[in-house]
Each structure stands twice: as C-alpha cells, then as structure tokens.
C-alpha cells in the first residue's frame, strides 16, 4: 500500500519528506522518491530502502515538496515507475495511490496530442492530464483532469508556477491533512507527520484540497467550498503505525472491510455481469480445464480447502487441495490440470518448490498472492493479486479473507466460461459481494461481545471447532488461529467425524465452537450440538442472525448476517479471528509475534 506525503511550510522540505517516508515504511514498499520545488522541480527516486535512497539524495533546497513510497501493484519495480511523476513540461509533479482504470485510453489520447511517457504507470497519465488542463491555476487543472479519470486514487500535486500551494484529492484511497503553524501537511496516514502535528483534517471521498503554509481550503465533488473542523489525534507515534490499535493483528482484522472491497473492485462488472481478470489469467482459464489442484501451506491451505468447496459447487470441476510440502514429493501431476498455488508472501519455500514441480511436469500454473514481484509471480504462468496491503501480524487475517474471495471470483469466472451459471444467478453473487464490506463491519461491531465470550475460553486446555461443508475448513482455520496466537490446544473437525474418534477427548472442560448455517445439514448440526452437550462442555455457536432456534441449543451465540449466502465464510472468518485475538489478548500472549513462528516461511 503506497504511502504519500506532501509538505509546505518553512522547514527544509527534504528532511521532512525523508523522515515521513521513513515513518511510512511499515506499510511496505519497494521504491520511493521525492520532488521538491526550488524554482524548478527537483526530482529524485529509486528502488530499494529509504536509508539507501537517502544516502544518494542530492542536497535539494526548498520548503515545498511531495514524496511517495511505492508498493507495486501495476507495472514492475523500476526506477522509472517509482513516484513522483512529472508532466512533460517538468512543471507538475504528482504522487498517487490507487488505480486509474481507464488509463490506457487516456494515455492514447494524450499520446496523440504529443505527450511523451517515461513509465508504464497510470500515475504519469495523471501528471500529463493535469498539464493538458492547466491554464494557470493548479486546482482547476486537477479538478478538470480528475473528471476524466475513472478508478480510485489519492493524489498530491505541486506545480512550479504556483510554488505556494499543494493540491490533494481523494477517491476511495486515504488522504489526510496535517494542520501546522505556518506549515501544513498532506499524507496517506497520520503517522507520516504526527511528529510535527497532531491536528488533522480528514478529507472525504471525492474531495479536493488546496494547502498553503497559512491556509487550508477544501472543495467537494461539485467544487463547492466546505468548512471542516480539526480533529486531535490522541495516540502517540509508537502507536501510530497500528493506527491506534494495540496490535497489528487487530488493526489488520479491522482493515478487512476495506481489503475485501479492494479484492472485488475492478474485478466485477455490474453492467456486463461478468468477472474480469488480467489477460494472462483469462487466457489460462479459457483453455479447457478438467481438474484443479490447489497447493498451499498453513492458513493458505485452509483458504484452498474453502476454494475447493466454492469451485466444485459453482463449476462441477473436481478440485484436489494438497499441502505444498506433500505435493512436491508425492502429488499426482496431470498435464491437463490447472495448479493454483496460494501463498501470501509469494516466497513460501515449500509452495515455490511444489509450483516448480508442477510447471516441470507441464501443468498450467496460477498463483494467488499478496506480493507483486515475488518469486511465485515470476515462475508461474499467471498470477492474481489479493491487494490486501502488507500484513505484519504473523497470524494471517486480512490476506486469508482476500484469498478466499479471489478463489470465489475464480470459481465464478470458470463457471461463466463453462456456461454453468446464468446472468441472474451471477448478479445475485455480485450483489452479495458488494454487500460484504458492510457485513464484515457488522461483525467488527460485535467485538466487545466476542471478547466477553473469549473470557470463557481463556482458561481452557483444549478447544474444538466443528462444522460441515464450507464450515469444516473454517473450523480448521478457527482452530489454527486460536492455537497459533493463544497457545491453547485447538482442533477443527468435520462435525460428522466427532463420533469416529474425537469424542474420546471431549470432557466438560473442552469448550466446543460450532459453526452452523441454515443449509441442508442444519438438522444434523443441531443433533451434533446435542451430542456434545450430553458430555457436558460449553457450546459456542456461530450462527445466522435469522436463526431463532439455535439459542435453545447453544450456551452462547455469535450471529453473522444471513444475507451473505456462500460468502458467509468471510464474516464467519472474522468472528473466528476476533475470538482468537481476544482469547490471546486476555492471556497476554505476544499476539503479533507468536513463539516459534515466522511470517513468511522460506525454509523447508
């Protein structure tokens, strides 16, 4: 997730920008750059660490400038693609976070007008477009340019002809103003300038702002001036990277309404009622697929298991899910099957090895990952990005839900290609997808209640999670989350399997978390709860909010919205994450760095 900073005031802009970029490092980045105005735009950008870039930075003078840390999503990691980008006349500098969806069309038009492009980025198009609309007033030019742009963005712009102002605008990407004395700041998050001021003004979607060293002006989409009050940030710098949350994991759980939105955005087309991936992925899927192998480790493996249910249900194609470390030695390789590797980091060694094995045996390979430019994206035939932003907590949260969603979109795409789904049914799923961020938010609002139930689990020696169908892999994931961060022994079982062994372990002091949806197995699940209750343990049910029956059977109920259909797996996951988090928090565990675990496992 890119980081943006703009500064105008009396201090040395270079120092402020470099310092702020350093503060934005935690967001993850592969390249960075700054542009400071001193009569002309002084530009410096490069790939690599801020500290390295800083060493080579020329001694730019000036008290107005912009800076950027880039986390590549479109276009490779190169010096040219790093921000800021200048317009052709070198007067206008732009930093940008987001994606311009119609940038090819805009670029072609601008090329016809004679504009020359130095990079592959959509950001450069914005710079040129602003120049094209410039008639002596920067905010007017930005306003006109943005009218032509489709997509989402936060941008910060300077122009050498007007060295007394910075213009910022946002749509769906964050941008916040830091209010100082004789100076002002613009950044993608408060961390960037918190050292200098804790007074902020938040920009809303579609708004544009002009900041000078004395003044802040905000305009809405219709160019009508807006008055907005300052807010005071209460947390200090060390909390800032976590946006005020006590742990990265909790912050990342709370990121999910946004990350869920990110996965879907640009990939579903309501008008054409279809799902869109990039060309390589589409080509790969168009070649008749008879079977699918999903390979992954840990949490990604559970995402794969959920993917199996989704793909099989929507397409009828058989799916095999295998652990990477097993598949690489023992997996069956069929040239006609598609191998989908799921890996958050794109660097998991076992998965990379399995992927290479699959490739060598002639299978088509597709990678679902969060990191562009990672090894997995380079060795596979095609890749899909989960676009969740960096995940710092070792326990995967937002990347897991994003992986599920990518697999869901894949399943829909394949069923469209195979003509297995009607336009109306597809539309129903599209609406469910669009509803999802709100459903996740509803779960987050229950955090306190979940914390209350967590107190029932915190002293348990062992916890069982059970479910059927989609809820079986969710049970596995729920158990994994709990054990990895709270160190309580936890197991997930298919509910029907309890009587074939696990019952032997069930005692009064083994709480059981039951995931129940109102599908064909509902009655069976109620019976399973009865079996469990007969042996004395407390039952915590995760059930639909329209389920009025469940209260009679379970000791505690955590509801999720009924309207999510197949996608209920996402809100349920969020409940399981919060449950594990609160238990670990009550037990005062090291949540972001559990013992013996690493974020990305690059050893065998």
């Amino acid at each position: 997730m890119c980081g943006i900073i703009g500064y105008i005031g009396f201090r040395d802009a270079k120092e402020i920008l470099v310092d702020s970029l350093k503060r934005l490092e935690y967001r993850g980045y592969d390249s960075a750059g700054i542009a400071i105005i001193d009569k002309k735009q002084q530009l410096f950008k490069d790939i690599g660490e801020i500290d390295e870039i800083k060493k080579n930075l020329p001694d730019f003078k000036g008290t107005i400038g912009i800076g950027h840390t880039r986390w590549a999503t479109h276009g490779g990691v190169t010096k040219e693609n790093a921000h800021p980008h200048l317009s052709s006349n070198k007067k206008i500098a732009v930093v940008h976070n987001g994606i311009i969806e119609n940038f090819t069309k805009l670029r072609d038009n601008l090329k016809k007008k004679g504009y020359k492009f130095l990079s592959q980025t959509d950001t450069e198009v914005i710079a040129q477009l602003i120049e094209d609309n410039y008639t002596g007033n920067l905010e007017k030019a930005v306003f006109s340019a943005l009218k032509k742009v489709e997509g989402y963005y936060a941008i910060v712009v300077t122009c050498t002809d007007e060295p007394d102002k910075i213009v910022g605008a946002r749509k769906d990407s964050p941008l916040v103003i830091g209010v100082g004395d004789n100076e002002n700041y613009l950044a993608s998050d408060v961390t960037a300038f918190l050292k200098y001021t804790n007074r902020v003004v938040y920009l809303n979607d579609g708004e544009l702002c002009i900041i000078s060293n004395k003044e802040i002006r905000i305009f809405d989409e219709k160019n009508i001036p807006i008055e907005r009050k300052e807010n005071l940030i209460k947390w200090d710098l060390k909390d800032a990277e976590k946006s005020g949350f006590p742990h990265f994991m909790l912050k990342e759980i709370y990121d999910q309404p946004e990350t869920v939105h990110h996965v879907i955005r640009g990939r579903i087309s309501e008008i054409y009622r279809t799902i869109e991936f990039n060309e390589k992925v589409e080509n790969l899927l168009k070649n008749g697929i008879n079977s699918i192998n999903i390979i992954a480790c840990g949490t990604s493996y559970y995402a794969g298991l959920i993917g199996k249910y989704l793909v099989e249900k929507l397409t009828g194609i058989p799916v095999n899910v295998e652990l990477s470390s097993e598949y690489r030695y023992f997996g069956t390789r069929n040239e006609s099957s598609l191998v989908i590797a799921v890996t958050q980091s794109g660097e998991t060694l076992d998965t990379l090895a399995a992927l290479k094995e699959a490739k060598n045996s002639g299978c088509k390979t597709l990678v679902v990952t969060n990191v562009v430019g990672s090894t997995a994206t380079r060795i596979s035939d095609a890749y899909i990005l989960t676009q969740s932003g960096p995940e710092i907590g070792v326990a995967a949260t937002k990347t897991f839900t994003s992986q599920i969603l990518v697999l869901f979109l894949l399943a829909l795409k394949i069923s469209i290609i195979k003509n297995k789904i009607g336009a109306d049914e597809l539309y129903k799923y599209i609406l469910q997808l669009k509803e999802l961020p709100r459903n996740v938010r509803q779960i987050l609002n229950q955090s306190k209640k979940i914390s209350g139930i967590a107190s029932k689990l915190k002293n348990a020696n062992s916890v069982f999670f059970i479910g059927r169908g989609l809820n079986y892999p969710l049970s596995l994931e729920g158990a994994l989350k709990l054990k990895e961060i709270s160190y309580i022994h936890a197991e997930g079982f298919a509910a029907g399997e309890l009587k074939h062994g696990p019952f032997a372990l069930l005692t009064k002091t083994t709480p059981v978390v039951v995931i129940v949806t109102k599908d064909s197995t509902y009655a069976k699940m109620i019976a399973n709860i009865g079996e469990v209750k007969a042996r004395g343990p407390q039952v915590i049910a995760i059930a639909e909010d329209s389920d009025t029956e469940i209260d009679k059977h379970a000791d505690f109920v955590l509801p999720f919205p009924s309207n999510s259909g197949l996608l209920s797996c996402v809100p349920i996951t969020v409940i399981l994450q919060l449950l594990a988090y609160h238990v670990a928090n009550l037990r005062e565990c090291s949540i972001d760095k559990p013992r013996n675990l690493a974020k990305s496992v690059t050893v065998e």
């Binding site: 009396f10 004395d181 004789n182 200098y196 804790n198 005071l232």
Partner: protein, 401 residues
Amino acid sequence: MKCVILAAGEGKRMHPLTFTRPKVMIPIANKPILEWNLINAIDAGIKEFIFIVSYKSEMVRNYFKNGKNWNVKIEYISQGEPLGTAHAIGTAEKFVDNFLVLSGDTIFGKQDIKKIVEKENSMGLYKIQNAEEYGIVKIKGNKIVKIFEKMQDPFSNDINAGIYHFNKKIFNYIKKTKKSLRGEYEITDSINMMAEDGAFEGIFLKEWRDVVYPWHLLDANEEILKKIDNKTEQTVEKNITIKGKVIVGKNTTIKSGSYLEGPVVIGDNCKIGPNCYIRPYTSIGNNCHIGNACEVKNSIILDNSNIPHQNYVGDSIIGQNCNLGAGSKVANLRLDKKNIWVIQNGNKINTRRRKLGIITGDNVQTGINSMINVGAILGDNCFIGPGAVVNGEIMPKSKIL
C-alpha cells in the same frame, strides 16, 4: 521585538503532574507558569510572541489561542522532535530578527526582562547557592567566557538563568552546533561559539524562580502569593474570618464558619466551607470544594478537585479532578523532623524540605480514612482504598486497596 518562549518540554522531573499536561501548563497561584512568563514579558513591553511547542501542545494552544485575551500576538511553532534548545530556537529562524528567548518553565521579573531586551547579544545570569543542578557560567567583566554543563562541584555560583537576547547571527552558530554528550543540540554550545568570536554579555538578574521538581512549585506559589492584592467577587456569608490578602473568584461561595488566612487565592465557582480553615500560601483552582472541618495549608489544589469532609492537606499539590474521601489525611512532617526524600520515576531525591505533603496527578480518588505519608507521589488515575496507608511512588492507574 519578538519573544520566543520555549514551551515544548515534557518535564519528566515534574511527574506525576506532567503525565497529563506539559510542564509550562502547571498552574502556580491559579495561572499556568507560562502565563506568568507571558504577563511579565508583556509588562516589560513585548507584544509579539512565538511559543515553541511539542508535548501536548494542544493544551498550550487552547489556553493562549492567538493572544487576544492579553492584547498581544502569539504564534506557535511545533518543534517536532525534542532535540534540544538550539534545535528549538533554530526552528524560529524564518520568523525573527533581533529576538528574546525565555525558558517557559522559569519565571523572570519584568525589570530583568527589560534589561536583557536593551542589550543585543546578552544573556541572564543568576547567583544561586546550590548550583550543581545548573549550567555554570565563567565571566570576565561582564563578558561571557564560557558556559559549562552542570557539574558536581561548581567553581562558581553564577548560573545560566535561561533568558537570552540574540540577533540573526545566532542561527549560523546553531547550524554549526553539534550534539552534546546527552545527545541534544544545546543553545549553550552555540553561545560558546558565538562568545569566542565576539562579545556576548552576561547580565545579572534580580528575580528568578525556576521549577524543576513538583515541590519547587510550592516555593514559587509562595513567592507569587506574597505579591497579590485583595480582590473578592464572592458571596460571603456571616461569621467568616478573612485575614491578610485573599483573592476569591467569580461565583465562589464562602460559607459560615470559614477561617481564611492570606495570602490565599481561590478560583471561580468554588464552594468553601462551612467551617474550614485555609492557611497561607494556598492556591485553589476553579470549581473546587473545600468542605466541613477541612484544613488546607501551603498547597496547590488544581481545578475541579474536592477536599470535602474532615481532611488535612498540607504542603501538597493535588491534581485536577481529584477527590479525597471523608477523613483522608496527608502527613507533611517527619516525626524526627529530618528532610523529606521522595521517590520519583524510581529515583530517590532529597527535597531539602522539612515539610512536604503529597503530590498527586489528575483524577486521583482516595477512600475514607486513607492516610498518605510524607513525600508520597501518586500517579494520575489512582484509586486509594478505604483505610489504606500510602507511601512512596505510586504508578499511574494503580489501585491501592
């Protein structure tokens, strides 16, 4: 001439009072230290101020705003990082020509400020008995030779008072200043360089009061209260005794049987009495309640705090929004009459005071009949249970039951 006031410091040695406010916002005689500074500088003829702020700067800003209430102009500069006095002063470069610098946590007299204003490139000096806590200045005639860091056995009693008059040249020296041993850019190092290159004058001050530790506030409070005039806007019931000079704020009611010995200052909207005894050198903030059978002596009570029923508070500082339970009492004298030591931030410090009660942060509550021993420091948001006996340093948010 503009006056730059250094007001960025957190003041760790002022804990627990600075857990919840910057040092310059601690009130003495019902006005923040910074306001006393401001008033004295205004009296010396200064109209334009720049406050260098950082720690909890919103409290400074909300209180002083743009200076309109004082008929002066106040601007703010955020220091960013606490990198030392030279760094703080350096941030003002673009806003000043010839300018005065005051340490915001030291109170200077207006005549002394005038003298410094008159002499370009000068600094204030003060003679003090125990100089080991301060920077020592070596002078020749009235010229500064060198300013030394604080030392164990100071060779002189002339200390750096923390008031300066610079011209633009100082910024060249600030840029050349290197980090000191304690890792900060010190203005004294910049001045030393400047003094080597040319004349920098020392001027001895008549009045000077700095506050390092909380108990120094009691001395400063006493000093200011000695100068006050009578001024009462209160409702006074019958059978009240007021001796000496007492200031009472708006809407404050003093109820029957109260005995007030000045100098005492009481803020607005307070309820005093009935039947209480308020002794000299006491400052009581706004919205406070001193109730029946309570005795308060030589103490600073911050806004919204209650000493409501059968309490004794002597030589103490009580934070904002505190409440003492019925019968809670404070000890302020060792039975062996020796100096009182306190533990602050884990360090044991000799206060050199024979009488010292307690220092509490904000939002402290004590239960009935709790007893707090001499020199106890209670962090903000502490709970002291009924009948508890409290000693030493209590961390913020603790519960003592």
